[in-house]
């Protein structure tokens, strides 16, 4: 890849990389660093990307993913609890905005569930692209995505209209 190709790739994919990093790490500074590092690594070693092995977007997201997981590990934000055994309880929302509640719920997911959920729900990647990004089998990705959605269904249950009314006592 030439610098011109990398600049074109930046214009096409940098926002996706940034959003993914921001949602997975829940930090603007980390998202800045990760996006920068993804494209700098490509500038340093342009031959790292081999188009015969797959498209560019999952390749860039895979670099971002490794950097994000490293940041979570370094910051001790990686829960050692086996992610299969993670079962979420409904969250106590108080008076927070829905967007904040969703962010809190997604960030409460184990990292491996969080990343597939973000890639599927927010970046609309196919299962195959997600599998390439997280270097797993499609079946594993499907299972993680299913568990992530099940957990979110339970965590965000207080936002369901009938539940919300009963919490705030507005049912007449």
């Amino acid at each position: 890849m030439t610098e011109r190709d990398i600049r074109a790739a930046f214009h096409e994919h940098a926002r996706t990389v940034y959003r993914f990093a921001w949602r997975v790490t829940n930090s603007s500074a980390a998202a800045d660093d990760i996006t920068q590092e993804v494209f700098l690594s490509l500038l340093r070693q342009p031959d790292r990307f081999d188009p015969s092995r797959g498209p560019l977007r999952p390749f860039l997201l895979a670099i971002a993913r490794n950097l994000a997981l490293k940041k979570l590990r370094d910051g001790n934000r990686w829960d050692v609890l086996d992610e299969d055994r993670f079962v979420a309880a409904p969250m106590d929302f108080g008076r927070a905005e829905t967007a904040q509640l969703v962010a809190a719920a997604v960030n409460a997911l184990p990292p491996l569930q969080r990343e597939v959920l973000v890639l599927a729900e927010y970046e609309a990647l196919s299962l195959d692209e997600i599998a390439r990004t997280v270097e797993s089998e499609v079946g594993t990705v499907k299972a993680r995505l299913h568990r992530a959605r099940e957990n979110l269904r339970r965590m965000l249950a207080p936002l369901k209209e009938p539940n919300r009314r009963s919490i705030h006592g507005t049912v007449k």
């Binding site: 949602r23 998202a31 996006t35 920068q36 500038l43 340093r44 962010a103 269904r153 965000l156 249950a157």
Partner: protein, 94 residues
Amino acid sequence: MEPLNDQELDQILREWQARDMPAALERKVFGAHRWPWLLRGSIRVPVPVGILMLLLLGLAAYSSFSIQRPVTLSDFQPVKQLEPRIIRTVYENH
């Protein structure tokens, strides 16, 4: 408490909008790349151009070497025909 169904979950997830990427990031990436490049960078040169450049460099080195060869005694030869010119100033005529 009744969990959300698929449609409700999708609708609620969409409420969380990502913040926009800072515009300065592009300058940071491509600007930061330039300076270390001066120390660690490399340039790709096509083989024929490389060979031509090497030939030109060799030629330049050879020609500069041949011009600057050391002066020996054999370079000093007696003058075959002396043709002195006498130059006087106007003051010498007076």
